[in-house]
């Protein structure tokens, strides 16, 4: 057993966490990146015997893994902890497999459908309020405080918990965040989408009203043709048609 307070290779592992998806593939998904992040933390195993334990552990941690990239740090911490504690390889592989679903779902709900839209909405609100460059600064700082904290917290919590990592997911703070993030994001997005009309460039009141009406009509059109085409594809087609009308008028 290694001392629970010290995380070997912590700084390098944290730096590598930001590259966890650099070698993403459909076969292994985050697997290569997972092994790359875990490798500095596993170097303690090199001291044992001929280093074969280290190489076997690195190979194991480079196999298929998928999760939200920020929450993958939790799995890295737990899996490395288990490796250094001498847990059986089959158990470690089961641990990694068991974390795939929960960590993916947690990240999708908390970050992609919650925190990111909330921060983007704040950015758009600030643009509408003529904050200029501060809108970009506020968006980046706000988003990344949570982003960086999550990556580091995940690595530490996974390391502390080892094979009992499921307990870290039940942390009251995380559960509370899950409860409030969707309503907060919904409120901010609702406010931002209306406020956007304030900066309809070069537009007077009639252009603003016409823009709002066109947006509602267009949203209805996109909804009606789902799932045959995305809104982006439909918008590209409509704008190309407007472009042709504008030129051929």
């Amino acid at each position: 057993m290694v001392a629970r307070s010290a995380i070997p290779g912590f700084a390098l592992a944290v730096a590598r966490l930001f590259t966890i998806q650099a070698a993403w593939t459909y076969e292994r998904m985050l697997g290569i990146g997972f092994g790359f992040v875990a490798e500095p933390m596993l170097r303690g195993l090199r001291r044992d015997g001929d280093g074969s334990a280290f190489r076997r552990a690195v190979a194991r941690q480079s196999r298929y893994f998928n999760a939200h990239p920020y929450f993958a740090s939790l799995a890295v911490g737990a899996a490395v902890r288990a490796e250094l504690d001498g847990v059986q390889p089959e158990k470690i592989e089961r641990l990694r497999s068991a974390l795939v679903g929960p960590l993916g779902s947690l990240g999708d709900r908390l970050i992609w459908a919650g925190w990111l839209p909330a921060c983007a909405a704040i950015g758009l609100l600030l643009v509408a309020l003529s904050a200029g460059a501060w809108a970009v600064v506020a968006f980046l700082v706000l988003y990344n405080v949570a982003h960086v904290w999550l990556r580091i917290w995940g690595l530490k919590a996974g390391w502390r918990s080892g094979v009992s990592v499921a307990g870290a997911l039940a942390t009251p703070g995380l559960q509370r965040a899950l409860e409030i993030v969707a309503p907060v994001a919904a409120f901010l997005v609702g406010a931002a989408l209306v406020s956007v009309l304030a900066w309809v460039p070069a537009g007077g009141r009639w252009e603003t009203l016409a823009g709002a009406a066109a947006a509602l009509l267009f949203a209805g059109l996109v909804r009606a043709i789902q799932p045959r085409a995305t809104g982006m594809v439909v918008a590209g087609g409509v704008l190309a048609a407007v472009l042709a009308v504008g030129v051929l008028w």
Binding site: V127, Y143, A182, A185, A186, L193, A215, V238, L239, G246
Partner: protein
Amino acid sequence: MSAASLLALLAVGAVVGLDLVSVPQAMLSRPLVAGFLGGAVAGRPLAGLAIGALLELFAFETLPVGAARYPDWGPAACAAGALAALRGGWDATWMVGVMVVALVAAWLGGLTMHLARRLTAAQVRRREAAIEAGDPRALMALQLGGTARDALRAAALTAFTFLLGERVARAVEAGWRAPRPLADIAVIGTALGVAVWSAWRLYGQRPSRRWLAAGAVAGTAVLGALAW
């Protein structure tokens, strides 16, 4: 735009393209940021921010979830920001052309990312034995290779968007004959329409729906305060 500025734009485009998946996922790739940075390279960051904010409305639609193929907004928005800055101020006829090209480029970005991933997968297969032997050098080589491919892909996409976008925007601006508000309404209507649809899809269920409505009311108050 000078050759040095164009090179700087490609470098920024590569950085924001890398950010989406490879490194560091700090949301530099969001159109709001990438458009601003592209505008800054061309000397007018706020002009870039304006089109970046419009493209941000489109970006609400797609969540960068795992194996799903999603648009790559960063390089497209970066180039669009630079094009908006080159124009100087807001001109919707110019922006219609830029936005059409940016939408195509973002879609192409998703496609090229898929191709880059397949190339990475081929590299992984080539190094399978070394990976299974736990060789850290193989992992490092794959990480660096994946990052380099992604950077080149993003830079090429930025160049494509900028060069094609400039030609299209100039042609549209010169040939536009319809009333100009049509262009304004089309640009804001499509961008905001996609965002409204996306917001409804994300938060249209209880209990988030009432918060979405409350936000819209608050936004209307903000809009009213700004208008009067």
